[in-house]
Point group: C2
Chain length 449, copies 2
C-alpha cells in the first residue's frame, strides 16, 4: 500500500502536547477572567446557513468564506447552503435574535471558539483561529458605563496572562465624527472614507494620510486636513488630552457627546480601579468597521508594538438589525488568541508547559504491577494526575520518557522497598530523590507541588 503524506492543511496552528497545555492554560485564563466579570458562556455551531452568514459581509470578507457542502449536495452540484463562521459577531447577532425571548437583558456573553477565513497562507496568518469575545447587549438602550467595563476586563485578563506591559487605547467615534463636522467634513460617505484613511496612520504615516484626505473623493482643504490630524495626533496624559479636546473650537453636538462619553469611560475606569498607566485616550483610533458608533478600543503590547492590536472592539448601536426589529445596542471586545499565542511563543514570552501529569509510576518489576496500579489509584484519589508505565523497559528509558513528557515526579518501587512499605520519589526537575513511606506518598507529592 502506498503511503499518504500525513500533513495538516496550511494555515492552521497545531501544537505538540506541551505547547497545547500552555495554550489551554492561556484560553482557561481568558475564560476565567471573563467569568470573573459576570459573562456567561455561549457556543454556536461552526457553520451558519449562507443566508444568515452573508448579511454582514462585503469586500474582503466575502472572498474569504469557507463554504460547506455534504456529499449529496456536492454530487448534485447544488449551491452550498452552509458556511464556516468568519467571526463570532454574526453568530452572536443570530443567537440573540433567535433566542431573544429566552435571554435576560443586558445579556452578557463570552464565546471562545474558532473562526475561519480563507486568508492567503503566510507565516503568522491563520485560516483557523480562536477568537475570545465578550459583549454586553442591551434591549433598546445600554448605559455608557458598560463601555468602561470593557477595558477593565482587558486589564484584568492581560495581567493574568502575564504578557508584560500593555496599553489599552480608546477613543470615541462620535468625537471623530464631531471633529469632521468641525472641520467641515459633514458628508457621510466622505467621512467614512476619511475614517478609513486615518485608520491607516500607523501603517502608511501622517504624510500619506494627508495626501489621501486632500485628494480623491475626500478632497479636504490641506490646511483643514493638517489641523484635523493635529487634533487626532494629540498626545500627553489622559487629563491633558481631555483638556486639549475641551479647549477646541467648534460647536458640533456630536463632538461634545463623544467627549462626554470619553470622560464617562475615564471616570468609570478609575472607579473600577484600573491604573491610569494601562489606559490611554488615543484620538487616532478609528477602527475600520462602520459597525462601531461610539467607544472603540485597541490594545498593544508595549514590548511588541509590531504585533499590532491584540484586543479590539467597541460600541455599536444595533447588533442584529438583519434578523430582528428589536433595537439591540451593545459593546464588546475580542482577543485573537491563536495569533497572540503564536506571536508570544515565537518571541519566547510563552514556553512549552510542564505536563498535566504530575507523577509517573514506573514499571520496575512486572511482578509488582498490581502494586503500581494501587499506588496510582491512591494518588488519583488524592487529586494528583498520575500516569502508570506498563512497559517494563529499562528504568533509564522510563525516566527519560517522563522528563521528555514534562512529568515532574517519578515513583520507583522494587521488591525490597515493597517489603519495607516505602517507595522512591524522584523529583526530575531537581535530580533529588526521597525514600517515602507508601502511605504518605500522596501527601508528600501534594506538599511539593
Amino acid at each position: 500500500m502506498s503511503l499518504i503524506q500525513a500533513k495538516t492543511p496550511p494555515g492552521v496552528m497545531e501544537l505538540l502536547p506541551r505547547d497545547q497545555i500552555a495554550f489551554q492554560h492561556f484560553l482557561d485564563t481568558i475564560r476565567r477572567g471573563y467569568e470573573r466579570f459576570g459573562f456567561l458562556p455561549v457556543e454556536t455551531p461552526v457553520f451558519e446557513t449562507v443566508d444568515v452568514l452573508l448579511t454582514k459581509t462585503g469586500g474582503e470578507t466575502e472572498k474569504q468564506i469557507y463554504f460547506v457542502q455534504s456529499t449529496g449536495s456536492l454530487q448534485q452540484a447544488k449551491a452550498p447552503e452552509l458556511a464556516l463562521r468568519f467571526d463570532l459577531t454574526v453568530p452572536l447577532a443570530r443567537y440573540v435574535a433567535e433566542h431573544e425571548h429566552d435571554l435576560a437583558f443586558p445579556f452578557r456573553r463570552y464565546q471562545i471558539q474558532r473562526v475561519y477565513r480563507g486568508e492567503r497562507a503566510q507565516k503568522g496568518r491563520f485560516r483557523e483561529f480562536y477568537q475570545c469575545d465578550i459583549d454586553v447587549i442591551g434591549k433598546d438602550s445600554l448605559p455608557v458605563a458598560y463601555d468602561a467595563e470593557m477595558p477593565a476586563v482587558i486589564y484584568h485578563v492581560f495581567r493574568e496572562l502575564n504578557v508584560g506591559g500593555f496599553t489599552i487605547n480608546f477613543n470615541n467615534r462620535k468625537l471623530l465624527a464631531g471633529l469632521f463636522e468641525n472641520f467641515s467634513l459633514e458628508d457621510g460617505e466622505r467621512r467614512k472614507l476619511a475614517l478609513r484613511e486615518i485608520d491607516k496612520m500607523d501603517k502608511i504615516g501622517r504624510d500619506k494620510v494627508i495626501d489621501s484626505l486632500t485628494g480623491g473623493d475626500i478632497a479636504l482643504d490641506r490646511d483643514l486636513a493638517v489641523r484635523l490630524l493635529d487634533a487626532i495626533g494629540l498626545t500627553g496624559s489622559n487629563a491633558e488630552i481631555v483638556a486639549a479636546l475641551e479647549a477646541m473650537p467648534g460647536d458640533s453636538e456630536l463632538f461634545h457627546q463623544g467627549l462626554s462619553e470619553l470622560k464617562a469611560v475615564l471616570e468609570g475606569l478609575r472607579a473600577l480601579q484600573v491604573p491610569e498607566e494601562f489606559v490611554k485616550i488615543n484620538p487616532a483610533i478609528a477602527r475600520g468597521l462602520d459597525y462601531y458608533t461610539g467607544t472603540v478600543y485597541e490594545t498593544f503590547l508595549n514590548d511588541f508594538p509590531g504585533v499590532g492590536s491584540v484586543c479590539s472592539g467597541g460600541r455599536y448601536d444595533n447588533l442584529a438589525s438583519h434578523y430582528t426589529k428589536s433595537k439591540l445596542p451593545g459593546v464588546g471586545i475580542s482577543i485573537g488568541a491563536t495569533r497572540l499565542f503564536y506571536q508570544l511563543k515565537e518571541a519566547g514570552v510563552i514556553k512549552a508547559d510542564r505536563s498535566t501529569s504530575a507523577v509517573l509510576v514506573t514499571q520496575l518489576d512486572p511482578s509488582l504491577s498490581a502494586d503500581y496500579l494501587a499506588i496510582a489509584a491512591d494518588l488519583r484519589a488524592a487529586g494528583i494526575n498520575t500516569e502508570v508505565q506498563f512497559e517494563a523497559s529499562k528504568i533509564a528509558k522510563q525516566l527519560k520518557y517522563a522528563d521528555r513528557a514534562g512529568i515532574r515526579f517519578a515513583v520507583l518501587m522494587g521488591t525490597d522497598e515493597q517489603a519495607r512499605g516505602t517507595v522512591t520519589l524522584k523529583d526530575l526537575t531537581k535530580a533529588e530523590q526521597h525514600d517515602v513511606p507508601r502511605a504518605e506518598l500522596a501527601e508528600r507529592v501534594r506538599g511539593l507541588l
Copy 2:
C-alpha cells in the same frame, strides 16, 4: 430592509446560557478525569485534506462527509480539497504520523472537540457533536495492561459525571474469532459478516441473528449457529463467565489468547480498584468496525438502556498504516458528549445550572455608581465572579433579572447604607437578606458559597 430569519442550521445542539454552563461543567469533568489518568491534550484543525480524511472511510461514512471550499475554489468549480473531520481517530492517526519523532511513546492523548456527519436530521441525532476521546499509542508494541486502564478511566469519569448506575461491558475480538474457529467459521470474509450480524443482537434479536448466520454468504450450520450464540450469550458473574469459557471445547489458539487477555483485563481492573459491579464481561459485544483487534468496550446507563452505548472503544493493531510504516498499536475509548448530554437533559437527570456569576451588584442609586464598581472590584479580587448592573431600572426588575440568570446573590446599597458602611446581601435562593459591613462582604459571600 426585509429581515432574514435567525435560525441555527438543522442538526446542531445550541444551548441557552444556563444549559451551556451545565454542558461546560460536563465537558470539564470529562477533561479533568482524563487528565487525572495522565492523558495529555491535543487539538487538531476542524478540517483535514480530503486525501488524509478519506483513507479510512467506506460505506455510510463516505456519504456523510462535509466538504469545505473557499470562495475562490468554489468559483473555479474545483473539487474540494478539505473536509470536516467525522471522528477524532483519523486526525489522531494523521497527528501521530506527522509528529511521530516529537512525541514520547507510549503516547497518551485526550481530545475533546466537535466532529461532523451529514446525518439525516432527526431528534437526538446530531450533525455536529462533541467527541471526548482518549487513546494510548505504543511504538511497535503496547502491553495488554493498558486495556485494563480504559474501563478504569470510564469508571472514574462516569462516577464524577453523576449520571446514576452504569455498566462497562467488555469483550475480546480474539475470543470471538477463536469461537468462530472452534465453530468452523474460519474464512475471513464470512467471519466479518458474522461479526456484523452478532453486533446487531440487541437491535434485531437472537432469532433474526440465527437466520442471518445460517443464510446468505455466511451459511453456518444451524446447530453450530445455535451453539455459537449460546457461547456468546453466556451470562453470570465475571468469574462464572470466565469459568464457562475455560471449560469450552476447541483448540483455537486465538480463543485462548483472547481469553487470557480478558483475564488480564479483569485482573488489572481489580488492581485499579474498579468495583466488580461496574464491569461486566459480555461475549456478545463485537463492535461493528473491523478496525478493532482485541479488547472492545461498550458502556450502558443502567436506568437508560435505550440510549445505547455511551462510551465505546477498543484495542487496535495499527493506528496509522495509511500514513506511516511504523507500527503503532493502541487502545482507546470515546464519549459522544453532545448526544449523552442531550439525552440526560431530556430525561431530567441534568438540569440547567446556576450562573457562573455568583453576585449581582445592583444599581439602586446612580449617584453611588462608583461605589458599586468598587464593591465589584473587591469581590472580584477575592475570586468571586461578579456582575454590576448599570441600568438604574426598578430594583424589582434588577432582582428578577438576577434570579432569571441564575445568579445567587444580590448586593444592594443606598445612601443610608453607604453612610453606615454596610450593604444588604440578598440570597435569592432562600429569600434571605443580611446587613453586612462593606469590608466583610467578600468574606461573607465566600463563606456562603
